[in-house]
């Protein structure tokens, strides 16, 4: 087994506006199982950060516990990172985002980490609209602890040992919609063409951006009978194709009239929903709920941008915090002295 990735890269790797190539967004070599969907998500995050030209040192990666939560080691080796405890990434993310509102926060979690032990924290993260991208690598099982059913395992899905799951699975995207998340999407680790622009849009979005990514566990949940295997996911996926065009970038693709829909984010970047998805109303939360349920009834997995509220107020705005990151406020700003205190007191008289 190789524990290092060769240092050589393609000499003609393209560079982004910062002069970095995608290799500058690489992390350590993965130790996950060969073929694990999580590695594809890592690559999609890497590619998204490269394409959006985010300086690596302005990104913080956060995670809990699980194979999925190990992922941050395997991308963005030059960024900040915090591998917290099981299900507790949301509280760390909330604190970090409050302390320094200027970083791009990418949370990576698993279905176990989020839908079981971390459920309590997760809903509060949504409720507070913490400005971050939250990705669940959803494989319907606890990969790290040898593949037990997780809370997102679908009703009737057969575990590797043959046991049929008697419980209804939690649909995290529906939950996020219900709880008022300002950006909700679903994707598949095997569809980078969709996943990459979604991650880029999520990072550009101001507020909590949730992406539920079906990510097959090749070792414990990729057999016949599993509803989250590569084959099964591919057979049922109903994908909305989309493009992401960051602000100030020219729109190059030609769309046929009436086949696309444009959603503009708060910073001016644009998401193009293509073809069949052109009549989908991303700003209508109730419609999104319905679309998910309709797809489920038809035995389909609806992927793409499900809901977006481009004008949401994130936690920093809701709490009316200083524009300057709290961790940069120095003594004089935090304790402006007795003269300022006096004037405040005067104002209260």
């Amino acid at each position: 087994m190789s524990y290092v990735k060769p240092k050589f890269r393609h000499p003609k790797l393209p560079t982004n506006s910062l002069g970095y190539s995608v290799a500058d967004y690489d992390g350590a070599i993965s130790t996950l199982c060969a073929g694990c969907g999580h590695d594809s998500i890592s690559a999609a995050i890497r590619n998204a950060c490269f394409k959006s030209a985010i300086p690596p040192h302005r990104i913080a990666k956060l995670s809990g516990i699980g194979c999925s939560s190990k992922m941050p080691t395997y991308f963005l080796g030059r960024s900040h990172g915090f591998n917290s405890v099981h299900g507790r990434m949301p509280s760390v993310a909330t604190g970090a985002s409050l302390a320094n509102r200027e970083l791009t926060y990418i949370g990576v979690s698993g279905d176990g980490d989020t839908a079981s032990i971390g459920m309590g924290q997760f809903v509060h993260l949504i409720r507070r609209n913490v400005n971050m991208t939250y990705i669940v690598a959803n494989n319907g099982c606890y990969g790290l602890t040898k593949g037990q059913d997780s809370a997102t395992a679908d009703l009737g899905s057969v575990a590797k040992g043959g046991a049929v799951n008697p419980f209804d699975g939690i649909d995290l995207a529906s939950l996020a919609l219900l709880q008022g998340a300002s950006f909700v999407a679903r994707s598949f680790s095997g569809d980078k063409e969709q996943l990459e622009p979604l991650i880029r849009a999520a990072m550009a979005h101001k507020g909590f951006a949730f992406i539920d990514v079906v990510s097959p566990c090749v070792t414990f949940n990729n057999h016949a009978g599993s509803t989250k295997s590569y084959a099964e996911t591919r057979a049922h996926v109903d994908a909305m194709q989309l493009d992401f065009i960051p602000m100030r970038e020219e729109i190059r693709t030609q769309y046929e009239a009436g086949t696309s829909q444009t959603v503009t984010l708060h910073d001016g970047s644009v998401i193009h929903l293509q073809k069949a998805s052109s009549d989908y109303a991303t700003d209508d939360r109730a419609a999104a709920m319905q679309a998910i349920q309709k797809a489920e009834a038809e035995d389909k997995i609806l992927t793409g941008l499900l809901h977006l509220d481009p004008n949401s107020q994130d936690l920093n705005q809701l709490l009316n915090l200083a524009n300057k990151p709290l961790n940069e406020l120095d003594k004089d700003e935090l304790c402006p002295g007795s003269r300022v205190l006096d004037s405040i007191n005067q104002g209260l008289r």
Binding site: R9, C36, S42, A43
Partner: protein, 597 residues
């Protein structure tokens, strides 16, 4: 684009850039791996089978392999392929017991005219089959230009003697000190076939340049002069020497002059420095020995004073490159330049000359003076029982080309003597074997080292210039050799893809350090190349296209900068990728000449 046909051995052969570029198709990565395993004798024998003169070539080869070495595409410098060959030769044990011997006489008799690498290769390839081989050479020993032209400070005589000896010891009948002056005579001697490996022996002159005749005593044709030095007829040269020409012969002339008393030695060449024919390393070596190279100077006149050569004048020119690639040297209009000298060596090219082959033999020649040859596979001349090879076939080239010709000519001669069709060439010996040693474990050092190329150490300059026989290069020591060998990327460990097993999880594409792997929609080749993650813009480098996969996409791998690191195969959950060792051995007249496992 159609799926790649990997059952065609030429597909994977081309991926091993160095081996593909080597005229004799030496299995380079195989011998380099043997060096890392400290199996120097085996490394030597792998070479010996392919190129007959590993010790010689490890010092003198033109190394067409190195400029194309894949390593040179992912970092600054290619693998030191040539000098590693010398390591195998330097550190091998006695190989004589493992070399093939002359076979039981088969009743056929072959004449070889000229004792250079081409004839010696034919002899080596045919001897085990029982042919009676008669080798003619005007000189007292075999070796050809390797002996008479290549100076011993680059190629020690002992190394040459040893390797020429391995061939001659296979029962070859030598006719030395015998200049063949009539092909017609040879043809009456009852030979079943004749191989002409007489080289391109005539050095070009500047007969019309003013002063040429009068200064003749101090003007020498480089080719003849080097031979005279080699055979110790010439031991001295004047203090001030001008060498005319920009090829490797000029480089050998100037460096030899420095060792025979030349103190102020200059190379003066018509073309710009960059366009000179000499290999970059030969130019470096000359400059290192204190020899300036003056470019863009066209010889105008030999200048004499009181009947003696005192210098030369040159017209200064400038290169002008035309759109069609043509180069023109345009006079700058400046005053002609004058350089003093005592002697001039003319090294401006060499030509074929066959004054000894009569018209009535039926052997016909082109207007260039080269023989008309069936093609570059058979090497048969217009007379069915006469074959040409080496410099005699297509004009001056190099040793490894002469060897490659020799292999093919030997196959032809054998087919001819057995009454077989010469066009039906035997196929190369090819194998493709998985290198999997366990889960995620390969038989070779798959992850490349980061070490840089190192230059071969030299003897101190002062010492080197004192003795024309002292070898300048010291060769790599074993520690350096190991590191240099480990730089090889093992391009013969092929990435082989089985579309049926692929679940399109992207793991290989994600891990590939050099972004070679793509899962995309199929398209015509040009479009497909442009659509890759990093466009494959070198048409010389193939792209590997799979059958259509379940999602309707195809896998496309750009071979260009693949590191053969095996990570794609390690990350593949279904073993759709495998690393398979590809061996390719050019068919020789004697099939299993050696065994190295």
């Amino acid at each position: 684009m159609k799926p790649t046909n990997v059952t065609d051995p030429e597909y994977f052969h081309k991926v091993v850039d160095c081996q593909f570029a080597c005229p004799a198709h030496t299995p380079v990565p195989a011998y380099i791996r043997l060096i890392s395993q400290q199996r120097y004798t085996d490394a030597y024998l792998v070479n010996w089978e392919s190129n007959v003169f590993p010790g010689v070539l490890g010092r003198t080869c033109d190394r067409p392999c190195e400029p194309v070495c894949r390593r040179g595409r992912v970092e600054e410098e290619p693998v030191a392929i040539c000098r590693l060959k010398r390591v195998a030769a330097d550190f091998k044990e006695d190989v004589s017991s493992r070399l093939p011997r002359a076979g039981k006489p088969n009743g056929k008799k072959i004449a070889l005219i000229g004792g250079g690498p081409a004839s010696l290769t034919v002899a080596r390839d045919l001897a085990p089959l029982g042919y009676e081989l008669h080798l003619y050479d005007a000189n007292a020993k075999a070796g050809g230009f390797m002996r008479s032209e290549i100076p011993s400070f680059r190629l020690p005589e002992s190394v040459l003697d040893e390797e020429v000896g391995y061939v001659m010891d296979m029962g070859i009948t030598a006719h030395f000190n015998t200049y063949v002056d009539s092909m017609a005579d040879i043809l009456t001697n009852g030979y079943d076939a004749v191989f002409v490996g007489s080289g391109a022996p005539r050095g070009r002159d500047l007969p019309k340049l003013p002063g040429r005749k009068k200064a003749d005593k101090n003007i020498h044709i480089g080719l003849d002069w080097l031979a005279n030095v080699a055979f110790e007829h010439t031991k001295k040269i004047g203090k001030k020497v001008i060498v005319l020409g920009g090829g490797n012969t000029a480089m050998d002339c100037c460096r030899t002059s420095r060792r025979l008393g030349g103190e102020d030695v200059k190379v003066i060449v018509r073309s710009p420095f960059e366009d000179m024919k000499a290999s970059p390393w030969e130019k470096e070596d000359a400059i290192h020995e204190g020899i300036p190279i003056i470019d863009n100077h066209v010889p105008k006149e030999f200048v004499l004073k009181k009947g003696k050569l005192v210098g030369m004048t040159f017209e200064k020119v400038e290169p002008k490159y035309h759109e069609d690639g043509r180069r023109e040297l345009v006079p700058t209009g400046e005053e002609p330049a004058f350089f003093e000298c005592d002697d001039v060596l003319i090294a401006i090219g060499q030509e074929n000359a066959f004054p000894w082959i009569e018209k009535e033999t039926g052997i016909r020649f082109t207007s260039w003076g080269t023989p008309i040859i069936n093609d570059d596979e058979t090497f048969q001349s217009t007379r069915k029982d006469v074959f040409f090879g080496g410099d005699a076939a297509f004009g001056p080239a190099n040793i490894i080309t002469a060897v490659a010709h020799g292999h093919k000519a030997a196959v032809s001669i054998d087919l001819y003597c057995r009454g077989k069709d010469l066009e039906k060439r035997p196929a190369p010996n090819v194998t493709l074997i998985s290198q999997k040693m366990g889960i995620h474990e390969w038989s070779y050092d798959s992850i490349p080292v980061n070490d840089k190329r190192e230059a071969v150490p030299l003897v101190e300059l002062g010492e080197a210039l004192k003795d024309r026989d002292l070898e300048v290069e010291l060769g790599f020591d074993l520690e350096t050799a190991f590191v240099q060998a480990e730089r090889c990327l093992n391009c013969d460990a092929q990435t082989v893809f089985t579309a049926d097993s692929c679940i399109e999880c992207d793991a290989c594409a994600d891990i590939c350090p050099t972004s070679c792997i793509n899962f995309i929609q199929n398209a015509p080749e040009e479009e497909l190349r442009a659509n890759l993650m990093v466009p494959a813009d070198d048409p010389e480098q193939d792209i590997y296209v799979s059958q259509t996969l379940n999602t309707g996409k195809v896998l496309v791998k750009d071979e260009d900068v693949c590191l053969h690191c095996g990570l794609c195969a390690e990350r593949c959950p279904t073993a759709a990728w495998d690393m398979k060792l590809f061996t390719y051995n050019v068919a020789k007249a004697t099939p299993d000449l050696m065994e190295v496992s």
